[in-house]
């Protein structure tokens, strides 16, 4: 159960692959885990509109390999429709976000910056997320806080998300900003690679993220450069590993009840 145990399989890759390669060929062999960069569609779907790229790890329908399933569902290719991996959402967005987008552009040019501080801007389910280049985060946060048309006085928190399949940008930090003056919200998101998990701290702009950055460091190992005292906050100081990462096992023991054994939660069948 040690988090550093290299033998412990990655729970995410576990869903896609199996150690028994021969059986996998029988049931799900049609689509060997494609990379993100792979061009969408290939030869399969030249007729219709372009499909999103295949999902890097999810395949089949029942989340199980090697079961002797001959239904064909195991060959289904799951498409990667997560909007955060696509490009920018093309404008026009709906009115309110259009105004916000214009305000942001104006504020950035007032501050001597331009829209190239963003990797992309994603509008999804009515919420807007600015993907900020990580070295530009402090100045962008400062503009979002100080510009009169934006005035995002409060940063509600930081949250990490781990996407192990996004090579080069595995760790994401999401910031939720709130403007009381204009009664609106935006999300900022910054990605950093697993091998270089550094993101500049914005505690000097938003003192409220002090604990939130500590929490994100604690759970994901993202190092917020410039934080006044980046220490663990939830886990004990000497804890090995960062528990919310996907390669960190949940742990648990099988439970026996009336003769049947129920495996621990992270070893049960997943339908992802």
């Amino acid at each position: 159960m040690s988090p550093d145990d290299p033998k412990k399989p990655d729970p995410t890759s576990e869903q896609g692959g199996t150690e028994d390669g021969s059986k996998e060929k029988v049931t799900t062999g049609g689509d060997p885990a494609p990379g993100l960069a792979e061009a969408p569609g290939d030869a399969v779907d030249t007729r219709g509109p372009e499909l999103p790229p295949p999902h890097p790890s999810r395949r089949g329908m029942f989340g199980v390999d090697g079961s002797g399933d001959t239904s064909g569902y195991g060959r289904l290719v799951v498409r990667d429709t997560n909007p955060i991996r696509g490009g920018s959402t093309p404008r026009p967005w709906h009115d309110e976000l259009e105004r916000l987008g214009d305000d942001v552009s104006a504020a950035l040019s007032d501050a001597g910056l331009s829209d190239d501080v963003f990797e992309k801007v994603v509008v999804d389910r009515g919420q807007i997320t600015f993907f900020v280049k990580r070295d530009r985060l402090p100045e962008v946060a400062r503009v979002f806080r100080d510009d009169a048309a934006l005035r995002f006085e409060m940063c509600m928190g930081v949250n990490g998300v781990h996407y192990p399949e996004e090579t080069g940008r595995e760790l994401h930090a999401c910031y939720q900003l709130l403007s009381i003056t204009h009664n609106r919200r935006v999300n900022l998101e910054v990605a950093c690679p697993d091998g270089d998990p550094h993101i500049p701290s914005i505690v000097s702009t938003y003192p409220s993220v002090n604990w939130h950055e500590r929490e994100t460091y604690d759970f994901f190992g993202i190092i917020f450069d410039g934080h006044p005292s980046l220490t663990r906050i939830e886990m004990p100081d000497d804890w090995p590993g960062h528990p919310q990462r996907k390669d960190y096992p949940l742990g648990g023991i099988p439970v026996e009840y009336k003769g049947a054994t129920i495996p621990p939660p992270d070893e049960r069948r997943a339908y992802n």
Partner: protein
């Protein structure tokens, strides 16, 4: 000095340590630690080098659960105050990633254990937003949700007032507060089956409809509350001792609240009427008639008064909920999302209704498959992420829900107001008296279950 290096190292028979005497027993050496020599402390104080660091908690009864406060004292004045949290971290967010979306409710309800319905609400609103069914939630389900949340706000504020009073020695406030809270929890038990941790809200609606007699019970409760809520005001509002302990204590102005991200009664005690129920409504709050109480002295006394006023506003909202309860479904119509069980009381307690079992076992193979698939596998949620805030009794409770398209959450993070608001302890307590630390923290009303998750 010699006692600096005295640790629990085995000592020889000739060692005569005045601070950690040792005697041999059959179970090994037993040390009796008696602390430092008082004359050393006095000498240091005379030399002006006194620096006392006191650990308040994590088991101090008046720190609201397992909160540890590290105080640096000069006499009785607090020169530095720091919080240590994490003693109640239970890994709920990690566990959610290994359960299906419906099961998640059972976990999140245990985070902030004084306001379980708000945790559930933030989570299910997030899941519903990801599913795109926010507008399809039946009216009756929304009304029940609002009613349960407001009852929960009352019970949570009652605990805040009760424990806050107890910590100042106002024991009658405590006994009264818990008396009324019990009545509220009785309603929860009647409606959801459990006093706490109900898992009553589900993605798509609520777990089951109101039982017979629930409306009458709530009305009776409202009558009782309107009769007794005045007792708190009579006991405290003009009580000189109470005011002496709370007025101007734990001061935090608007700029401080903004910088530290403080929301809830603490923010409203600065005079800013910021309440997400009004400003960014959800669950139909924009259709209810209620006020957002504010006061403008930004101290512990104002926060107490605001909580009492909010209880009254919540009572008004619950009344309106009862008036607009129309018969109808309490779960979304989409059978691919709605939990398939139809619950009923049987001879062995609550369970699937016999009609439902007869239907899936005897009449329709498709219904059986459908039931089986939805219960074992769960529904899939389209990939994406949303951040959904609700106004919990303590402030903004936000759920950041991330889906990768599967039957399990990819990541769920709760922005808990207790976690955030505890950052204000240093600003509120430094420079004050050590006794005021208790009052200031009680006015923040942190719940460590929510803070540590």
């Amino acid at each position: 000095m010699s006692h600096n290096d005295v640790t629990f190292t085995p000592t020889g028979a000739d060692t005569d340590d005045p601070y950690a005497g040792v005697r041999e027993t059959t179970e090994g050496p037993v040390y009796t630690v008696t602390g430092q020599d008082w004359s050393d402390v006095v000498d240091a104080a005379v030399a002006g080098q006194e620096r006392i660091v006191v650990n308040m908690g994590p088991q101090h009864p008046s720190t609201h659960g397992v909160l540890r406060i590290i105080l640096e004292l000069d006499g009785e004045t607090v020169t530095e105050a720091r919080c240590g949290v994490g003693y109640l971290h239970t890994g709920i967010e990690k566990n959610l990633e290994y359960r299906n979306w419906t099961q998640g409710v059972t976990f999140v309800t245990r985070m902030d254990y004084l306001s379980p319905f708000f945790n559930e609400a933030a989570y299910v609103l997030g899941v519903e937003k990801l599913l795109g069914i926010t507008d399809e939630i039946p009216e009756r389900a929304n009304v029940i949700r609002v009613m349960m949340m407001e009852l929960n706000r009352i019970s949570s504020h009652l605990v805040a007032i009760a424990t806050g009073g107890m910590e100042m020695g106002a024991l009658t406030v405590m006994t009264n507060g818990f008396r009324e809270r019990e009545l509220t929890l009785d309603l929860f038990e009647l409606i959801s089956g459990l006093r706490m941790n109900s898992a009553y809200f589900r993605p798509g609606g609520v777990a089951q409809d109101l039982p017979p007699g629930a409306v009458e019970s709530v009305r009776e409760y409202l009558r009782w509350m309107w009769d007794h809520i005045g007792e708190y005001e009579d006991l405290c509002n003009e009580n000189p001792i109470f005011k002496g302990r709370t007025v101007d204590i734990g001061y935090l102005d608007l700029a401080g609240c903004m910088a530290l991200g403080i929301t809830g009664p603490v923010l409203r005690s600065t005079g800013l009427p910021w309440d997400i129920r009004k400003t960014q409504p959800y669950c139909g709050y924009e259709t209810y008639d209620f006020e957002v109480p504010t006061r403008d002295n930004a101290d512990s006394y104002d926060r107490f008064r605001i909580r009492v006023d909010e209880i009254k506003e919540s009572l008004k909202i619950v009344e309106q909920c009862l008036d607009r309860l129309e018969p109808g479904p309490v779960m979304v119509a989409d059978k691919k999302i709605a939990w398939p069980a139809q619950l009923a009381i049987g001879s062995d307690g609550m369970g699937n209704s016999l009609d439902h079992i007869r239907h899936i076992m005897g009449e329709s193979m498709e219904a059986l498959i459908h039931h089986f698939k939805l219960v074992t596998e769960g529904f899939r949620v389209p990939a994406g992420q949303v951040y959904v805030p609700v106004e919990s009794p303590r402030g903004e409770l936000g759920a950041h829900v991330v889906s990768e398209g599967g039957t399990r959450p990819w990541r769920v993070h709760f922005r808990d107001p207790s976690f955030n608001n505890l950052q204000a302890v240093a600003a509120m307590c430094e420079g004050g008296m050590i006794a005021d630390v208790i009052v200031a923290i009680a006015s923040i009303d942190p719940v460590m279950g929510g803070c540590d998750r």
